[in-house]
Symmetry: C2
DNA sequence: CTGAAAGCGCTTACAG
DNA sequence: CTGAAAGCGCTTACAG
């Protein structure tokens, strides 16, 4: 508010040098005499000089900022993934420009448009967009890395290794002696839900070909988990394990089982996917996805790309881990 | 990657006008002939023109970006508060530059320094910093709005109305006929913990002057909630209600009570503060704070300040609401 | 209502 | 190793 901030010219004047020299030490160039460097640094400190980022960007055509476009993430995930991104970005001297995006693809387009010209690249998480809408929304001239988004031949896409995670849990349930496992799937429009259901089928086929494979579809809410299990009971379906496509549905299942007095894990084992904090609290076995790790990897990869050490686009998978708790055994 | 993006000169050439005219319609200035405006818009569309944000910032000395400095927020809070901020910011045409900050005050300083020159103002949430460290870390020339931070005469500070929230819950517990309420406080270094404990004392004094006031100190973790209640039981303390300073401690309390077979709410009512998702699931009564609302208000207020309609700095409070569930009565 | 031109604060060949 | 100068792409008085 008081005096206008010092510019590079003020520093040059103060140090008795040219602006070019100031710029050189600012950017860590070689070919600067140690004495000169010292004088410059003193002058900068004396004036409390901070380079103007806009001027810098205009000159270099680089913003050193990364745009992050995320959906309306529920629960912890938002915080976790952003934390990972922030870590990776700040380590490499980048700043994060954030925009949450709603399911509407027009808004997605708009969100990315606003960022264009202000960021060097984009990280996009758009599980709810179609491949076409997504392709349309990404500005053609901006490097981008995708997270949990529909396939796309031109961008690096980081996804959860759903197959691996499901395999871990199915193996765990079978090892516990379960014979009749029912999978509560998420709603079919969701990429991860679909992959988990497919993976369940495959895992059963592979690990226990003569056991029955049952899949019923819910919508990722606890209410649907409750309902689905009520339905199974009403139908007289035999089962000794419930493997839900996410923790919320698993919690719903637990709720119903408790209500009707079916012991967990004695009679029925229950497992989820995600490892929300509640899972630990309720002793729910689950599959943990390292969201912070995904955020970190995505940013690292984007920066590598921006700075030239890029490899061809690919589909990478973040491996989940098994978290065994009381709900699947003692 | 292909051709370099169009500049304002390209648009001017394409439209057969001067760059000044392009700029005028871009900025919605009056005194532009409708025909001219039309030509400009056509040219912009034809070239897919997007103004260069850096050049704009350099000219206007405004970035239309807001820096957000948040601590390592646990759980949902991070996502919720950012969502609120993003909403308010995008409504007014601002972008959010995000940086998470760790407890270390040097890092706080650094985080804010990086933002300086790239943002028009700052939103800072620094519950863990001392007033001095905070004052030191905020660049003097940047407008800033504080959230849940130590008092400061020069900035608007938005905090949770802990008194109001505690009052609601104490009134609720008393209305349920509880006579011996024990408050599980958070660790004393925390601002909100201290306010909640004080507020508890005051509320009891005011609403039920002849009932005993008991406060024991924990540290906001569920483990400390478990421990504290075990201790109360071991000491033979009489109580028919536990009001914890946050939900995690309340969950710990529930855990201990269940373990030893004390019925909730028949024998002991349990209440928390925050309304984490788990609270709903476990039927825990609590006090809900609208974090998204806080984020929204903070951003609105900062933008008002940036755009001139500022009022003097003040301490504002976001009112919580009572969420009564099974743990405090039927 | 429109255009020519200066200026915002940097970076970077180009000379020296 | 250092400096003078052009240029990045806008905005905005200043004339007309």
């Amino acid at each position: 508010m008081a005096k206008p901030p010092a510019t590079i010219r003020d520093v040059a004047r103060h140090a008795g040098l040219s602006v070019a020299s100031i710029s050189r030490v600012l950017n860590g160039h070689n070919h600067v005499h140690p004495d000169t460097r010292k004088k410059v640094i003193e002058a900068m400190n004396a004036l409390g000089y901070i380079p103007n980022a806009a001027a810098r960007s205009l000159s270099t055509a680089k913003s050193h900022a990364i745009g992050v476009v995320l959906p309306d993430l529920h629960g912890e995930f938002f915080g976790e993934v952003v934390r990972g991104m922030d870590k990776a970005a700040s380590e490499r001297g980048y700043l994060l420009l954030l925009s949450t995006m709603h399911a509407d693809s027009r808004l997605a387009h708009q969100a990315m448009g606003t960022m264009r010209g202000r960021v060097d690249g984009l990280i996009i998480m758009a599980p709810q967009l179609s491949a076409e809408d997504l392709a349309q929304a990404i500005p053609a001239d901006l490097p981008a890395v995708l997270i949990n988004s529909p396939a796309d031949a031109t961008h690096y896409n980081l996804r959860i290794d759903n197959r691996g995670g499901v395999m871990l849990m199915v193996r765990h349930l079978l090892a516990g002696g379960r014979k009749n496992i029912v999978h509560l799937a998420g709603y079919s429009g969701n990429l991860d839900a679909a992959e988990r259901a497919d993976a369940f089928r495959e895992a059963m086929q592979m690990l226990a070909p003569d056991l029955p494979v049952r899949i019923v579809e819910g919508d990722f809410t606890d209410a649907s988990g409750e309902q689905l299990v009520q339905q199974l009971l009403a139908d007289g379906t035999q089962f000794d394990a419930i493997f839900a496509a996410n923790d919320m549905m698993a919690l719903g299942a637990l709720q119903t089982l408790r209500t009707v007095g079916i012991e967990v894990p004695a009679k029925v084992a229950v497992a989820g996917f995600d490892d929300v904090p509640m899972a630990r609290h309720l002793g729910l076995s689950t599959v943990r996805v390292d969201m912070a790790g995904i955020g970190e990897r995505a940013v690292r990869r984007l920066i590598d790309q921006l700075e030239g050490s890029s490899e061809p686009p690919a589909l990478a998978r973040q491996s989940p881990t098994l978290v065994a708790r009381a709900s699947t055994g003692r």
